[in-house]
């Protein structure tokens, strides 16, 4: 499942997509994100019949991703995003 967390407002689209079929709940993203955007839960709340740990975006951060992720996204010389780098399974992507 592609889980798109975030929002769209007049200033743009701000979504973090987690491919839950690739995510193995390893916790790397949780440690890598300086803004603590990620959390690993024992059961995917959007897929209740599957009992595997999976990463998701913390509920309180979901509506302010533009600002939470801002420090990792300078306008020039942008380094690789720590969350995307840390995910060996390649399950995380950003829409902006």
């Amino acid at each position: 499942m592609l889980a798109n967390y975030g929002y769209k407002d007049a200033s743009g689209d701000y979504f973090i997509t987690i491919d839950t079929d690739r995510c193995d709940g390893c916790n790397n993203c949780v440690g890598a994100c300086p803004a603590n955007v990620f959390v690993v839960v024992d059961e995917d709340p959007n897929d209740p019949l599957r009992d595997e740990p999976v990463a998701m975006v913390v509920a309180e951060k979901k509506k302010k991703l533009k600002y939470e992720c801002n420090p990792c996204k300078p306008t020039s010389n942008r380094p690789a995003l720590p969350c995307v780098e840390s995910c060996k399974a390649g399950a995380i992507s950003h829409s902006w």
Binding site: L2, A3, N4, Y7, K8, D9, P45, D47, K63, S95
Partner: protein, 295 residues
């Protein structure tokens, strides 16, 4: 003192329904889904995975009360004793506030499952336009979510926005759809879908001499475009179905479908019960697996 006259154009009718041909005594499992949304609350009672009764009400200021009201309203239509229920699942925005629920499941999962039930297994893209959020969901033939997006930060293009507009223009919410097509020429969309700004823009248009119908048409178009921009993000695969209260507003839907380029699926069921129906189906699945309530 002048007499106070109060009219609420946004009020839609509450309803309850029971399948007259079904007897709950024949059923092995009675499961209940309660969907407490930001604007409306639904309860669906299922007997072995088939809808036995449902109710559709407005959510009050107290979520636990709204949940039990919705359930009692559905029970009212039946002779089912309240303690006969095998499993109850809460869903929706207020899902953690259903005190008598055995567990809660997100509305994303429930809406996909519910749409699979009320529209049939051919549905692949579900658009739920709720009271204060929009969900675009892709699912497989079993109603399992494969891709989803929920915008609950901004109420633009949602049911509550339409209620505000109905009230502003003094048009009953159920007539908005038809009235919005009573225009000689389709006007351009209002430039802002933000409920607050769109309201002030509409006031400006009325002052410029636009008719009520033209303003409705312009707002319905803006909502359709806003909804389309969200659906576009996850992509549309046929068949396409719409759940939630907005599915009943042809002013928005008939403007949205040409943008998407598909036909919208039809159903005999009330589109607002999709979430509650999905929750009841999850309850049924859990009971069948022996994961029901510990007795």
């Amino acid at each position: 003192m002048a007499e106070e006259k109060k009219q609420e154009f946004w009020r839609w009718t509450e309803s309850n329904w029971k399948d007259p041909d079904m007897d709950w005594r024949d059923a092995r499992f009675i499961t209940v889904g309660i969907d407490v949304g930001s604007v409306s609350s639904q309860s669906t009672i299922m007997a072995d995975g088939q809808v036995f009764a449902y109710a559709n009400m407005r959510t009050g200021s107290d979520s636990p009360d709204s949940a039990s009201n919705a359930l009692n309203y559905a029970l009212e239509a039946t002779d089912l004793p309240a303690d006969r229920m095998d499993y109850c699942i809460g869903t929706g925005y207020g899902r953690v506030n259903v005190p008598f629920a055995d567990r809660s499941i997100t509305e994303i999962a429930c809406h996909a499952r519910g749409a699979n039930f009320i529209y049939g297994p051919a549905v692949r893209t579900v658009l739920d336009v709720g009271g204060q959020d929009i969900k675009a969901i892709q699912c497989d033939g079993k109603g399992k979510v494969t891709n989803f997006l929920m915008n609950d930060k901004c109420a633009a293009g949602t049911g509550r926005g339409m209620e505000v507009f109905a009230d502003l223009l003094g048009v009953s919410i159920t007539e908005v759809g038809d009235r919005s097509f009573e225009v000689k020429e389709e006007p351009a969309a209002v430039s802002s879908t933000c409920v607050v700004y769109a309201k002030s823009e509409a006031t400006g248009l009325l002052r410029k001499g636009w008719s009520t119908e033209e303003v409705l048409a312009a707002y319905c178009r803006a909502m359709a475009e806003r909804i389309y921009s969200l659906v576009e993000r996850i992509g549309v695969t046929p068949e396409f179905a719409i759940t939630g209260g907005m599915a009943k507003n042809r002013g928005v839907i008939d403007r949205l479908m040409p943008l998407i380029g598909l036909e919208c699926m039809k159903t005999k069921w009330d589109t607002q019960i999709a979430g509650a129906a999905g929750a009841a189906l999850f309850g049924y699945a859990l009971c069948q697996k022996g994961k029901g309530r510990k007795k």
